[in-house]
């Protein structure tokens, strides 16, 4: 066995291994704090990735909906209706390539998760979702009335097969097609002909959102302004606006997640702090001895901080792993209980870096005072300490 050259690090490690149980428990405290933080942040990280992917994937430039619903146009969020006539008028705008009216309905009580149905003119379906393919059956056609095409994820979670009948507010719709997976938000949505859904939901000739494709997308802002001027009760949101808005919402979500997890981080700091403080008070004489044989105050300071950082780095690394497992668990719950497959909590590299950074901060903060206390010990008093 080779002797260790007892530098700061190996001295720190040998001190930590002396109180094995305490070191493990403290590390576990940091692990839990970081795992909780990373797990929570993985949610907003995942949503952020999803929104960016979804919004940029759609073949349209402007979303329109009724004023008063200040949100990103994600399925399940459209409630207020406006006349379909508005959309036809927008179609005639100079910069409009096409405008697709849509009605969204949420059907509860199907036994499964809430069923989101988008009513869209069948002829416009491929304009809005250019990449859509039927895995089974077919897409909607203009002759369809009470027909449904369902997303792959929805078909799976709700056990919908071709020919199945779905009751939409008293009217039966038949599944005529199942879409191949796009790996996105629309996998969890069903589509019906607009007019049929309007009839079934009693909305008459009303819709609650529209998608607009422009001839010149660079003039999106101007066209959106034009729409809002013409229809005082509509909001027109460009792709850029939507992204900016969702990012600001996610910023808030992230801040909330961080402030929730800051409680656990604070507990982590206190854990390490208490451990280091106890450890210093147990080793007063050793510290006095080190000083007597020539170790500087700085060496002592460094020793304690390195011990504290060692605990927190190991805790941080394990915590990132724990956070990843937590995010996997969250995903499992989202899929199993809500039938949603498009939002995935995600632990990205930058999130791991944030987790480790926070762990370092925890260790540094918690170690400073005990280290300072150890470094300022009077040598003679420390040597006499019982």
């Amino acid at each position: 066995m080779n002797p260790r050259m007892p530098g700061v690090l190996s001295l720190a490690l040998s001190n930590l291994s002396r109180r094995r149980v305490r070191t493990i428990l403290t590390t576990l405290g940091v692990t839990l704090a970081i795992a909780f933080t990373v797990g929570l942040l993985s949610l907003s990280e995942g949503v952020s990735l999803t929104v960016e992917r979804e919004v940029t994937k759609l073949g349209v430039d402007i979303f329109v909906w009724k004023k008063g619903m200040e949100t990103v146009p994600l399925p399940g969020m459209m409630t207020y209706a406006f006349p379909e006539e508005y959309v036809h008028e927008i179609s005639s705008f100079e910069n409009t390539q096409f405008a697709i009216p849509a009605l969204e309905t949420i059907v509860l009580g199907t036994g499964g998760p809430p069923l989101i149905i988008e009513g869209i003119p069948p002829s416009s379906f491929l304009k809005f979702k250019p990449y859509a393919r039927a895995e089974e059956g077919r897409l909607l056609s203009d002759d369809d009335r009470h027909a449904l095409v369902v997303g792959s994820a929805l078909a799976e979670t709700s056990n919908m097969t071709l020919g199945a009948s779905v009751n939409v507010m008293g009217t039966n719709f038949t599944v005529v097609g199942i879409l191949s997976s796009g790996g996105d938000i629309f996998d969890s949505v069903a589509y019906a002909p607009l007019s049929a859904l309007q009839g079934a939901s009693g909305q008459g000739e009303r819709v609650n959102w529209a998608m607009i494709k422009l001839t010149d997308p660079s003039a999106a802002k101007e066209t959106a302004a034009l729409i809002e001027t013409r229809f005082g009760d509509l909001t027109a949101v460009t792709m850029d606006d939507a992204l900016a808005f969702s990012n600001s919402m996610l910023g808030i979500a992230r801040a909330i997640h961080l402030s929730i997890s800051s409680v656990s981080l604070l507990i982590g700091v206190l854990f390490v702090f208490a451990t280091m403080l106890i450890s210093v008070s147990e080793r007063v004489r050793e510290i006095g001895t080190l000083r007597a044989i020539g170790a500087s105050r700085y060496f002592i300071f460094e020793l304690i901080v390195v011990e504290s950082l060692t605990i927190s780095i190991i805790g941080g690394a394990l915590g990132c792993l724990g956070g990843y497992l937590l995010s996997e668990a969250i995903n499992w719950i989202i899929v199993e209980s809500m039938g949603v497959t498009f939002v995935q909590a995600a632990v990205t590299y930058s999130l791991v870096a944030i987790g480790l950074g926070i762990a370092l901060l925890v260790g540094g903060l918690a170690g400073l005072y005990p280290a300072w206390k150890a470094a300022k010990l009077d040598i003679v008093e420390a040597l006499r300490y019982e």
């Binding site: 002797p3 050259m5 001295l11 040998s14 002396r18 080190l290 044989i293 020539g294 003679v380 040597l383």
Partner: protein
């Protein structure tokens, strides 16, 4: 007394306030320890001998007078320089051994060399030599709790010699040992003095231990008397 005595104190004084009362633990001590000397400082407990030792070892600051280490006034040195002085020029042997409990015998001896930045290979070579010299060549990998008290003190002596200091300051080195073991430790200290030419200052209350030195001083109530 030559100007460049190994350690020299001039009217050295250390006062404490204890419960509003002034205690003169060291009271005007003039002492010169020459290079290569083996000096015992004897005195009953409370006579101030440990305080004097701490002052000479630059572990504590005096309240009056001067200490010259090889001619250098310790008051002129910064704390960092005093750390360096203790690290490279002095070796301490403690009554309670003060080995680091998590380190093995050889790691305890390596410690001061690591602090001094000695390259690993030569440090290990020296640690082996020193431990062999104190007859612990076979116990290198034992942690202090697996060693007898006498063995622990021998590790303590090897550690004190790690950076080849000029002086060894031993504060009651046999205080926790039975008389046979104590005799062995005193013999090792005498050998350091005779064979390696180390200057040794030994503080003890035990006349038998003190008699190993060629020069014996007595301390009473903070005042030093040459016998």
């Amino acid at each position: 007394m030559s100007e460049l005595a190994a350690i020299r104190t001039e009217r050295l004084e250390k006062k404490y306030m204890v419960g509003g009362r002034e205690i003169r633990a060291v009271d005007g001590v003039d002492l010169a320890v020459e290079h290569g000397e083996f000096v015992s400082i004897m005195g009953p407990s409370g006579s101030g001998k440990s305080t004097l030792m701490h002052l000479m070892g630059c572990l504590d600051r005096q309240t009056g007078g001067r200490i010259l280490i090889e001619g250098v006034d310790t008051l002129s040195l910064s704390e960092r320089q005093l750390d360096e002085l203790r690290l490279r020029r002095m070796g301490f042997v403690f009554q309670t051994f003060n080995l680091l409990p998590t380190l093995t015998a050889i790691e305890n001896v390596l410690l001061p060399m690591d602090l001094a930045g000695v390259p690993r290979e030569s440090a290990e070579l020296r640690a082996h030599e020193l431990l062999a010299m104190v007859d612990l060549g076979e116990r290198l990998q034992h942690v202090p709790t697996k060693l007898s008290v006498g063995e622990r003190q021998r590790v303590g002596i090897a550690r004190a010699l790690a950076n080849d200091p000029s002086f060894v300051l031993a504060d009651e080195p046999t205080g926790n040992l039975d008389s046979t073991t104590a005799g062995g430790i005193v013999k090792i200290l005498a050998r350091l003095n005779v064979e390696m030419g180390k200057t040794i200052v030994l503080v003890t209350h035990n006349p038998e231990v003190a008699s190993a030195a060629r020069r014996i001083l007595r301390l009473r109530d903070g005042k030093l008397f040459e016998r």
